[in-house]
Amino acid sequence: MEDIKTVLLVDDDPAIRKVLRRILNAAFEVVSAADAPTGLEIARSRDIDLIILDVCMPGMDGLTMAEIMRDDPLTRDIPVLMLTALAGFEDRINGLSSGVDEYLTKPFDLRELWDKASGLIVGGRSRPQGSFRN
């Protein structure tokens, strides 16, 4: 039996969590968190194959969470797909090249989400591992 991959979805918008969960459930097991600290806790405690992470969240934002993950041996190998609704934020994400593996600008095409998520799960982290602080 094929091993079912697990995706952690971290987004503060419950509608987004719900709809993405339903879409990704077709092929993956999906766990979700409404904020970054909860997401970090889940990432450390479970075997996660991909984290889909929103940038803008109250409290700790997605970039900070990704940064913390990269410093943690338990989570540094998990590929991260960042979701952003901020125009021009792609440049910042690109600048932090070692922290985020892929990004999507909201509202994105679901096929694109599917392709990128599948690619990261199958291929693992697409960029050299490291930290934002490197």
């Binding site: 987004i16 709809v19 339903r22 609704a85 901020l86 125009a87 909201k106 509202p107 994105f108 679901l110």
Partner: protein, 436 residues
């Protein structure tokens, strides 16, 4: 204009002088040196010729020889004045300076030479015919007068030429200043528009940003709904319509925010007829509510163009929406396409017309139709950005967007795009793009 005013002033002074001389001739009519009334008639003739010279300068500015001929006739009359005011001893020989002054002020070097030569000839001839005795004094007098006429001609012409050059330079400076003022006003208007665009951009960016999450939910949810096999075809169509609208909103949000997708222009082969139909399907209920009938008159054959389909859909949504708004009491909306090859560029193009039977475009609106924030709609109906963006999209696609009124009434907007050759591969790609 200034030249004409100078001519009028110059001749006015001369005319006043001629009237003054005629009045003197009348008052001193008993003077034995004056032969009255001939002298009076001659001064009147001088006045008439002076006015005639002024008129020829105005009517035929490009033919200075006519004016020079009239001024030469002045010289002949002045010779007559000398004859009737004491002969060679008359003091009125100074009147010869009048034609010299006139020609120097208003005509060119060649005419000055003619008239000055004429004055010298008339003066010489007059003395030759009327001097009782030709002695040294007579020769000296003729030579002195001739030298004086020559000197007057040279100095006056030189001064007049300098004055004309200065006036011409001043005119050029004024014209330059006027152009600079026009440019400054234009720049000011552009800056004001840019400022307003920036202000609106900030507000719309905020709104567009907040729309992104709900749009994502709509798009994802409709996709999930469409995955259910038991849906009826009607419901499926409704969901697809919601999806198309949400996709358009998504695109608008991306454009407003100036996102990466907007910066990169990635045209693909697509069929313009499909795009028009897609825009029509989004507007059909609005048209029906206004009792607007829709006519499609599409050219047979290919409508393949290289474009970003969403951009063109925005253009047609805007044009169709404007056309429907222009017919509040109903009418006919015609979407017409035709292919042709313009002579200038020689590249086949596809022309798409959006025509309405409304009141047409007012003349004042037409000139600034495609400028940002120029709208004839109430504030709650339009931002004045639609046509501006539509024109930008047309330009970005290497096409044109023009507007005009039809002879039979109503407005017509014409979008012209370069036509792609209908190849098998291109057709397949377009079909694939349409399916997406």
């Amino acid at each position: 204009m200034n030249e004409k005013r100078n001519i009028a002033f110059g001749h006015k002074y001369e005319s006043v002088f001629c009237v003054f001389m005629a009045a003197l001739a009348f008052l001193w009519r008993d003077n034995p040196n004056l032969i009255y009334p001939q002298i009076l008639y001659l001064f009147m003739s001088l006045l008439g010729l002076n006015l005639a010279a002024g008129l020829t300068l105005r009517w035929w500015p490009a033919k200075p020889s006519i004016s020079a001929a009239v001024i030469l006739a002045n010289c002949a009359v002045i010779t007559g004045v000398l004859e009737y005011s004491g002969g060679p001893g008359s003091n009125l020989w100074v009147l010869y300076l009048l034609p010299i002054y006139t020609v120097c002020m208003f005509l060119g070097g060649r005419e000055v030479a003619w008239v000055t030569g004429g004055v010298l000839a008339f003066n010489g001839l007059f003395h030759a015919l009327n001097e009782p005795v030709w002695n040294d004094a007579a020769y000296f007098l003729v030579a002195l007068k001739s030298a004086l006429f020559l000197f007057a001609a040279l100095t006056t012409f030189s001064l007049a030429k300098r004055e004309r050059t200065n006036a011409s330079r001043a005119r050029a400076h004024r014209e330059h200043l006027r152009r600079m003022e026009d440019e400054a006003r234009g720049t000011e208007r552009k800056l004001e528009r840019a400022r307003r665009l920036a202000e609106v951009g900030m507000v719309t960016s905020g709104v567009a940003h907040d729309l992104k999450n709900p749009l994502l939910v709509i798009l994802a949810s409709t996709e999930l709904m469409l995955s259910h096999e038991e849906l009826s075809e009607d419901l499926r169509q409704d969901i697809r319509r919601i999806r198309r609208s949400a996709e358009l909103c998504r695109r608008l949000a991306v454009d407003v925010l100036g996102g990466a997708e907007n910066k990169s222009f990635r045209p693909e082969p697509c069929r313009l007829h499909d795009i028009i139909d897609s825009a029509l399907s989004l507007m059909d209920s609005q048209a029906a509510r206004r009792s607007v009938q829709v006519r499609r008159v599409f050219a047979d054959g290919s409508s393949l163009v290289s474009a970003q389909a969403y951009d063109l859909q925005r253009v047609f949504l805007n044009l169709i929406s404007n056309a429907v708004d222009a017919m509040p009491r109903g009418g006919t909306l015609t979407l017409r396409t035709r292919r042709y090859t313009p002579r200038v560029r020689g590249i086949p193009v596809l022309e798409a017309c959006v025509e309405d039977t409304g009141g047409g475009i007012p003349a004042g609106v037409m000139e600034r139709m495609f400028e940002a924030f120029n709208t004839s709609k109430p504030p709650d109906k339009g931002t004045g950005l639609g046509l501006h963006l539509a024109k930008e999209i047309a330009d970005r696609h290497g096409g044109t967007l023009t507007a005009g009124n039809m002879a039979e009434g109503g407005a017509r907007f014409i979008l012209t795009l370069p036509l792609l050759p209908e190849g098998e591969r291109a057709g397949k790609r377009a079909a694939a793009a349409a399916a997406c």
